[in-house]
Symmetry: C2
Subunit: 294 residues, 2 copies
């Protein structure tokens, strides 16, 4: 038996969970997903040294890499259902794979997702999940924000950044185990006009909505919206949603959850973009995280 | 604009091709695939130094990595339709990405597939495509070979291995540009009882069919079935199909294409597995390729 097959059988096949959506799961050349509707899919690579520190406990590498990729499914207005998992690791160390498998299992339980296949190769630790999700209604795009829409964030900024600076505290550490807004997305999807997951930094990701929608923004945040301070506006690793909704839905959106905050408005032109933090104008040179500038 | 977004816009967005199957393509948090039937999906990572030599021309890295992953879709009895592409590269070198993008484009034309999304991160060159395909009928599994079924290969063994040993010859090089049996799969799928793509070595992959089907095999090959010699039985990098079909369909299968050869039979038990090459018994210690033993 090849080492890859041996690892798959011992550490991943055991995680399989029968589901009516999965016609063929782990163990053949491909998986077969039963579907009579649209499928949302996305892939996102997490690399040792770039996206997580070397020697991070493998169960956190697994959980975090899965959550990071899954976040994009939720941001499309969908519920994650299953994923493929491509793993590179330098050796075929049983302890590493046992801990990694624990993290995958924990994620599957927390987000009711199924592992349906993948591959394992030798190399610097590098995790590439590909997620699948079911749309709750129409897909939530970046390109459909309208002038005068309200801008919201689904939770406090900077929690992942704070978690990364304090990895020894594993309790509720949002870097190690990002807590995704899966429970909110059904309600948010009924009001949102545009949506993105905040992964590379709030301002950068808001700009992506505005670029795609050909609009601008004015936001005003304060310490209630951040973990540390104004640096949380561009730190990245948030894995919350930034979304827009019509002014007429402002109260409805705020009633979804106390975690959601209204932080600004969509404007006509990016020439007048404005960022206030504690009533002070903020200008950033670095607007967010870019793996090529690390 | 982040470097990742800049690269996507300049080298990948231009490859988008409108398709009725793709509701949302490149540029949002996820892609949306329209589907009213089952979707086959698979992922396969190709790494520099492990799966392809360092400094291989980027267009071949792209084409080969895509073909290697796509091969599994065909082996499931499906036609590839689209793919996500996760790329790691050490820098954001324009020349590299321009050549890589050419390889992606060439693959998309050859196999009528669409790039629908992905990500780019900084790191040792590592390519992870995730493919999607449409089933032609029922999925072709490894687990459904029956005793007395005939064993077939869809083309000559060892062409990838020969290609790798002669990289300076880029003409019809099956390592650089694997020529997948996409044109044969519709016909093969109507007869095959079990199927696998030969990627890690013919004997190892045939054993995977037999393990999953709880049967054994007897095969007899000769120089007509190989490029170099008996080492081609375990060299890997073939990206052809090994499949089984009922004895009563032997002639029908051979009539599909001259490239297809009948090389043996499924037997009752793996205890009696037998491999002949040019009428000589062959025993191998190493049955195929394993990234962890490289």
């Amino acid at each position: 038996m090849s080492k890859e097959k041996d690892l798959i059988e011992r550490f991943f096949r055991v995680l399989e969970n029968p589901s009516s959506d999965i016609r063929i799961g782990i163990g053949d050349d491909g998986a077969v997903i039963s579907s009579n509707s649209d499928i949302v899919t996305t892939t996102d690579t997490s690399r040792e040294g770039t996206h997580f520190p070397a020697n991070l406990e493998p169960k956190y590498i697994a959980y975090r890499s899965l959550a990071v990729a899954c976040s994009d499914i939720i941001a499309m207005g969908a519920i994650p259902t299953s994923f493929l998992l491509s793993i590179s690791h330098t050796d075929a160390n049983d302890d590493w794979f046992a801990s990694f498998s624990d993290g995958v299992k924990e994620f599957c339980v927390d987000y009711k997702c199924n592992l349906i296949g993948g591959d394992i190769t030798k190399g610097t630790t590098c995790i590439t999940p590909t997620f699948f999700g079911k749309l709750l209604g129409k897909p939530l795009l970046r390109s459909s924000a309208k002038v005068d829409d309200c801008i919201f964030i689904s939770n406090t900024l900077g929690r992942g950044y704070s978690g990364r600076k304090n990895l020894s505290n594993t309790e509720n550490n949002h870097f190690l185990k990002p807590n995704l807004p899966q429970n909110l997305i059904d309600a948010i999807a009924s009001y949102a006009t545009a949506c993105i997951d905040v992964s590379d930094g709030f301002i950068l990701d808001l700009e992506r909505i505005c670029d795609a929608s050909k609009v601008g923004f004015k936001v005003a945040l304060n310490s209630k919206h951040t973990s540390i301070g104004k640096e949380d506006l561009y730190c990245g690793d948030d894995y919350i949603l930034c979304f827009t909704a019509s002014k007429s839905d402002l109260e409805n959106v705020l009633n979804i959850s106390e975690d959601i905050s209204h932080v600004g408005f969509i404007t006509n032109s990016s020439n007048e973009n404005e960022i206030l933090y504690e009533n002070q104008k903020v200008t950033f040179n670095k607007k967010g995280w870019d793996s090529f500038s690390q």
